[in-house]
Symmetry: C2
Subunit: 258 residues, 2 copies
């Protein structure tokens, strides 16, 4: 009992010391990086739907998990119901039993209030036939006007396109799925060679892993480059910081890539 209490106290002390160190690190950033600080977002949302792509969700979220140590931010995981949402797809004819399930915190019918930033992942589930995804698309359409930022990863851009919020805007998407994905947004100015595209307050990334570079670029724009660089160093992540870096457009024969 005494040992347990001691261990618990040591554990707390460790984290308090670490947090203090992080706070010091935060306060010693160049003040130039604080230019947007007053307007920085507080409330984040991530959409989940069946057969979402795991890294589309957890690449961006683990960057933000780290940001959350030094900045007071909140996360809502939003889905059709509060049941766990699986990555499992109907594609798996190899006979594998290989998937993960994540627990939502909110539903489209009872969403978080005052959302500042909404992330939309892609994945095989974006191809599900109606009426699947209609609640996702309606939620994006309804929520976008009050958001500070909307960010899609991979084929998540097809859901933004179907919600109409990309009409007339520049955007990108997964390069392997380019033909199908771009067909979902005939009024979108699709950019064939791009790791990510920023147009107004909408950021769209290329496929899967590109979501991490897009999120770091977004963090740099919104929280300052020092915060983005510190976060990447903590995650031991080498960023691509040039939005036009995109060898995968040529690899997947995207029209306009060569």
């Amino acid at each position: 009992m005494i040992l347990s209490a001691l261990a618990s106290a040591l554990y707390s002390a460790f984290f308090i010391n670490l947090t203090a160190a992080l706070a010091v690190a935060q306060n010693t950033e160049p003040s130039s990086t604080h230019s947007h600080r007053a307007e920085t977002p507080i409330n984040y949302g991530m959409i989940l739907f069946p057969a979402f792509q795991a890294l589309d969700v957890f690449g961006p979220l683990d960057i933000l998990n780290t940001l959350a140590f030094t900045h007071p931010i909140n996360l809502a995981l939003i889905a059709s119901t509060l049941d766990p949402v699986t990555t499992r797809t109907v594609m798996n004819s190899a006979g594998s039993n290989f998937s993960e399930s994540v627990v939502p915190t909110h539903t489209f019918a009872n969403p978080p209030k005052d959302l500042d930033v909404l992330f939309v992942p892609g994945g095989a589930g974006t191809r599900a036939p109606e009426p699947a995804l209609l609640d996702v698309i309606a939620y994006i359409k309804e929520t976008y006007p009050s958001l500070k930022y909307l960010v899609s990863v991979c084929t998540g851009s097809t859901l933004l396109a179907r919600a109409g919020v990309l009409d007339g805007k520049r955007a990108t998407t997964n390069k392997k799925a380019w033909a199908w994905a771009t067909s979902q947004g005939p009024n979108v100015k699709w950019v064939p060679v791009a790791r990510w595209v920023e147009d107004g307050n909408i950021w769209t990334s290329s496929g899967i892993s590109a979501g991490m570079d897009a999120t770091f670029a977004w963090v740099s724009a919104v929280y300052g480059e020092a915060v983005a660089a510190d976060t990447a160093n903590g995650l031991e992540y080498e960023r691509h910081t040039d939005p036009s870096w995109d060898p995968f457009a040529a690899i997947w024969d995207v029209p306009g890539s060569s």
Copy 2:
């Protein structure tokens, strides 16, 4: 009703075609990459514990999720209980409410049978005082002799070290947490500059993002380079393929890094 059945048929047809295409791609690999195929693993496990690092888990798993489309493999998510496991840490004095929860499929008391490969993530939770993690450590110790491969990401190596399976072996770990992490394994030959280290059938990676490069290198060694390259292209991921690439050792002042 008819429209719904049609949509469903189109949906199935799409995935069947895609799977067929993937199968063709698989069959056209150079036969030299099939050398280990007969011994390739079937049953994978990923350990979960409170305050795991999300990308330590989902970086490797999304590579394997993709591999599962063309190779029959199974995943068990193993934790102390079947309750969802959270990334939430006690570190979060910024006042954030920012975390995700994942649903386990097995417990240490009732683990999967015939496990071939076990992945062990890191994260703040690896610092939890005893008796936390004792079941994780006992499970690693007990399971290791029957595994084909054991792979740790980030400070997951501290759990391998505490289980004794790294004694006398070369290994690496998170570079920011180097001093603490290496103190958990006094008999381990810690490698200060390494994206990942392979010693026998144990692979240990550096911090967080390094888990993806380590997993791709492992996939290349076990399934062949063509499978690893195809998977990385599908994920639009640029791999680091040199295990000695590690700028983060110097960034975090790891002794022996300069």
